[in-house]
């Protein structure tokens, strides 16, 4: 048997921890003594239990009466059913038990719910009981009515899922449960969920929605009730297919996304976004920016606008807001014209007979934007990750195949190189590339960034987070179709490195001060014994901060950390961004943290987040939340509901989009540092929870 096992498996088995035999023996003696003592008491407890059972029987009288009424109502149908389909009854007795007249003279075993089983819950040995009833009892008749089969074999029900809420003592049947792998279908809102219309396919802007383009699904009431309470009926999401058919999408709607009222408009509606106070809208042709807007932009997104401005143009009549750039010695300057403009509309404008983009921005910034549109090229739109970082999507065809063979995933830190054709450096080009103008080489290999954060790597593009300055260079390189290559950023520690997970619970400080990934100084505080002073261990490492703090550090320090853990020496740690890192994240309140909730906790089978971002809320349902040291959990019908705002979400699962299967993929959420801390605590606490994501 061992021949089939891998060396890793053999090694694990060979190094199984063994107990001290004295300890085993002593514990056995203590347990047996206690068990014998207990068995004397047990007889008294049995008597008490008997009395309790009698009381319980009385308290369930209304239930029994209800079963009786049900049975009386249904018994006619049952008799008809038995008469009509005797073959069916016989054929299915191996998986479920029927109350055929032949069985009426005996007792039968029936599996019933031990406690309330919620929709979607698996049937396990812990939430069911076996009861024995007379085969012709009301329970048996009621359970078997209308072709419903109850179960008497425990092995047949284990692993099935409840598709409706099952009350205590309610028989487990083939109607109220489904196979483990089956999709749960809920038939009425009152029973189990709130109907929500989702897109059955990707829907493009301007497309008129037909019935075949949408699905009706049912969100668990525990999740949907929050939405109801917050925003009125359905929380703005459509519940009936009829109400959405005929409307036009005013934002791209991904397959499987719930369709919100703000995502569609009646054909006569022309401007669905309500502008914030003090904002005005301005439009210009989409083709002016389309070639540079490499990251996907959607209605409602917040964008920065970066333009390369030739200093020579800043003479005569130009906006006062750009005055600070007029005296520069540089020929070309990268200027962020506006931070945080809102994309109000993208699409065809009949009056202009072309596709336009409409932005809403503070009135004071409009003048500069209009001037830049007229005078500057190129203009880059960048969707905002935070104030210091922007997202750029690099078309796949520009990235050399060899470099993409590396296994890269979202949250990896990468370097980006470009093979620059010096002949391309004519006319407008980013100031950062001006040093290569005088090169005698036809092509120059340049490093565009050494510390970009990969957000998503789906065809046809690879989205990366870089600084605004790097975004300008990248955008120009993309526009000039310059080939690029990427590689994972090497850790700057010159030593053997090992990965290690640091427990979030032992982190001191605030995630505000941390980069999502980068070089940090790790400071570990521990006490060697109960009385001595605190000891401090300091070393440098490369870090990815996610649900767990993932370190790449010199093996010596990894071993030290592991040694602390193994020897059960409690420690705390903090992480300090390194000042001398090649490029540091500017710490601010706007930094966000990437978290990856476990897919097995997902409440719905799949999500289809928008590529490149999109805001959402993640709703956690936590049955046993009372012990969690977390604020913000709302009790709803006995279930804890926790809602966190998601700045951006993505998934690395093509299977999710293609087959509704998220089991192979991971949902990645960008949360605020505070919310990421809350998620860390939730995940680390070990309590049962589920989550779903509601796009906003």
């Amino acid at each position: 048997m061992n021949d089939k096992q891998t060396p890793i498996e053999n090694m694990l088995k060979a190094h199984k921890p063994q107990a001290d035999s004295k300890f085993q023996h002593n514990l056995e003696q203590r347990l047996m003594a206690r068990l014998h003592e207990q068995s004397g008491i047990q007889q008294e407890e049995d008597t008490v239990m008997m009395m309790k059972r009698k009381r319980n029987t009385r308290s369930r009288l209304p239930l029994t009466l209800a079963a009786a009424v049900l049975a009386i109502l249904l018994v006619g149908g049952l008799v008809m059913f038995i008469k009509d389909t005797p073959e069916t009854q016989t054929a299915t007795t191996n998986t479920a038990t029927d109350a055929t007249p032949e069985a009426a003279a005996t007792t039968i075993d029936m599996i019933v719910a031990h406690d309330t089983i919620a929709v979607g819950d698996r049937i396990t040995a812990y939430n069911i009981s076996m009861i024995t009833v007379e085969a012709d009892s009301l329970w048996a008749i009621a359970a078997n009515a209308n072709g419903t089969w109850y179960y008497s074999d425990i092995n047949e029900v284990l692993g099935r899922k409840a598709n409706t809420s099952i009350a205590p003592f309610e028989p487990i049947t083939d109607q109220n449960t489904v196979e483990a792998e089956a999709e749960i279908t809920i038939t009425t809102e009152d029973e189990s969920g709130i109907p929500i219309i989702i897109a059955a396919q990707d829907i493009a802007i301007g497309e008129t929605i037909t019935a075949t383009m949408v699905h009706q699904v049912f969100y668990p009431r525990s999740v949907a009730s929050y939405v109801l309470r917050q925003n009125g009926e359905w929380g703005g999401f459509f519940g009936n297919i009829e109400n959405v058919v005929g409307k036009q999408a005013i934002t791209p709607i991904r397959a499987l996304s719930p369709i919100h009222a703000n995502a569609v408009a009646a054909p006569q509606d022309d401007f669905p976004i309500v502008l914030p106070q003090g904002y005005v809208a301005t439009s210009f042709p989409l083709d002016l920016v389309e070639s540079m807007a490499n990251a996907p932009i959607y209605i409602g997104d917040t964008v920065d606008i970066i333009a390369n401005v030739q200093t020579v143009n800043l003479q005569g009549d130009y906006p006062a807001a750009l005055e600070q750039y007029a005296d520069s010695n540089l020929d070309t300057q990268s200027i962020t014209v506006t931070y945080g403009a809102i994309v109000a509309h993208i699409g065809y404008m009949p009056e202009m007979d072309e596709d336009i983009i409409t932005l809403a921005l503070p009135e004071a910034e409009v003048e500069a934007l209009v001037w830049v549109v007229d005078h500057a090229t190129p203009i880059t739109f960048t969707s905002i990750v935070n104030a210091e970082w922007v997202t750029v999507a690099i078309p796949r065809e520009l990235i050399t195949t060899a470099s993409m063979r590396q296994r890269m995933a979202a949250s990896d830190t990468i370097r980006i190189f470009a093979t620059l054709q010096t002949a391309d450096l004519q006319g407008d080009y980013p100031e950062a590339l001006s040093r290569y103008v005088t090169s005698s080489m036809e092509t120059v290999q340049i490093e565009v960034t050494s510390n970009a954060l990969m957000v998503e790597s789906n065809t046809p593009s690879m989205a990366v987070v870089v600084t605004p300055e790097e975004a300008v260079v990248l955008s120009w390189l993309i526009a000039s179709e310059t080939p690029m290559s990427v590689e994972q950023t090497p850790v700057t520690i010159d030593a053997r490195v090992m990965p290690y997970y640091l427990p979030p619970e032992q982190f001191i400080g605030s995630y505000d001060s941390l980069p999502d990934s980068g070089n940090v100084r790790v400071v570990v505080f521990f006490s060697a014994d109960d009385t001595s002073n605190m000891s401090v261990l300091t070393f440098d490492a490369f870090v990815n901060v996610g649900a767990y703090t993932h370190l790449l550090a010199d093996v010596t320090y990894v071993e030290m950390l592991e040694s602390l853990r193994l020897h059960n020496i409690s420690y705390t740690y903090t992480l300090l961004p390194l000042d001398n890192a090649e490029r540091q994240v500017q710490t601010s309140d706007d930094d966000y943290v990437l978290v990856v909730p476990p897919p097995e906790h997902a409440l719905l089978p799949c999500y289809a987040p928008r590529e490149g971002g999109g805001q959402a809320q993640v709703v956690f349902t936590i049955p046993n939340y009372e012990t969690l040291p977390l604020e913000g959990i709302v009790n709803q019908s006995g279930i804890g509901i926790l809602i966190l705002d998601v700045v951006s979400l993505s998934t690395d699962s093509p299977a999710c989009r293609d087959n509704f299967d998220i089991s192979e993929g991971f949902l990645r959420l960008l949360l605020s540092p505070e919310d990421a801390g809350i998620f860390d605590i939730l995940e680390a606490s070990g309590v049962e929870y589920h989550y779903t994501v509601l796009p906003r």
Binding site: T6, P7, I8, E9, M11, L12, K13, H15, K16, P17, Q18, A19, D20, S21, F23, Q24, H25, L27, E28, R30, L31, M32, L35, H36, Q38, Q42, E45, R122, T124, A125, Y126, S129, M130, I154, N155, A180, M498, P499, Y501, P503, E505, F526, S527, A528, D529, D530, Y548, V558, E559, E562, R565, L566, H567, N568, I569, S570, E600, A684, S685, G686
Partner: protein, 189 residues
Amino acid sequence: VYERLTPDEERDLITNLAQNPDSFRQLYRHYFPRIYAYVASRVGSQQDAEDIVSDVFVSVIEAITRFEYRGTGSFAAWLFRIAYNEVQGHYRHTFRRNTVSLHDLADMDSDELKPDEALSQKERFERIQAMLATLSPRRQEIISLRYFGELRNQEIADVLGLNEKTVASHLSRALDDLQHKYGQKDVQA
């Protein structure tokens, strides 16, 4: 002391427990090494492991009259669920503690082993712990239940409240990760 039980023997012992408390002795001897190995692999310290294992079995005998035998594997899943809960409780408690004495280190050595063997075992165990620590907590848990608790995938699924396929997927990936990271040659060294 280890007594291996067949499923039928286990069933008989459990169903007769009310009449014959001594039946528990055999169950204990059958499960103790597996529970201990699982717990020790999760907490890393002998002292903590012994404390937790004691709590587990005390909980078991307090609750065993309420346990209903539901077929092969049901008792193991129930038992390991108790152990899993105790380990989780230990984590939560440990996170709130500030310091632990270094004297705990002395307890790591087993009385049964000669000093050189003990050192060797300790080192090898630490090495495994270091390897497992590179996995996500969920996969560490599954590896521990599988190879130290000797549970089948379905039993692990019951303990952790997961789908059996999810367990199999985690297990396969965890082994792949370990194999990829440490390699066959390294492992056998």
